[in-house]
Symmetry: C2
Subunit: 139 residues, 2 copies
């Protein structure tokens, strides 16, 4: 009811600037978004964007709450999509470094907007959540 239609129009404009509503392209982009809009992928990109090249265990330490398996899996997927490079140094103890590619950096830059949005709207989301829970508790 309290929706800002001006901002809405702005979003529409921005979207249609680059997306001329071609269904095929739309589907492809959707697929890419679906792949990339992953919980861990985003956080890993952020960590790598902040720290540069990192080793596996360093990465595991920075990305709190992730299991080794998911970290491995996510990194593999990201490598497949060309978001990170995986460099193995044949030394003992073994050393593997992960680093963002240009593609990954670009995604990181693009995702900055969302990051900033998340920061600025932390409270709003918290409030909405509490309001929703209160509403549901009542019934």
């Amino acid at each position: 009811m309290n929706v800002d239609f001006a901002k809405h129009a702005q979003v529409q404009a921005k979207l249609s600037t680059e997306a001329p509503l071609d269904p095929r392209i739309q589907a492809l982009v959707n697929e890419v978004i679906a792949r990339v809009a992953d919980k861990w992928t985003m956080i890993i990109i952020d960590v790598l964007a902040e720290h540069g090249a990192l080793r596996f265990t360093q990465l595991a330490g920075k990305v709190s709450g992730i299991s080794q398996k998911m970290l491995t899996q996510t990194l593999r997927d990201m490598e497949r999509e060309g978001l990170v490079t995986r460099t193995v140094y044949p030394v003992v103890p073994p050393k593997v470094e992960y680093q963002l590619t240009d593609l990954g950096l670009g995604l990181g830059a693009a995702f900055c907007g969302v990051w900033i949005w998340a920061e600025q709207n932390l409270e709003g989301i918290e409030q909405a959540r509490m309001a929703y829970d209160a509403r549901n508790q009542a019934r």
Copy 2:
């Protein structure tokens, strides 16, 4: 090895502009990102940003590949986070409309960058994927 460090620095700068590396805030933002960086959430936001208010079945039609269950669940979560409003019209046949809130619109706008990135780098990702698969096939 072919990483653009200038762009890297730019990403860092952008990130540190609004994120002064406070661990607590970082964790909260991470949590929000993790919630919001969902495959379906993003696509639904995009569809709603494009079309305005939509009914359940319309939404189901526009978001190809989603099941009723996930659509319901995702919409509920989004409502809880304050991203969409759910309006029930007490008529027969029943009618429920979903619409982005200001918060949701903001997220849509913030996500535009990622959307554009996805479009511009479709080919790059496709190439990276094929190269990776070829590499893996060889071994």
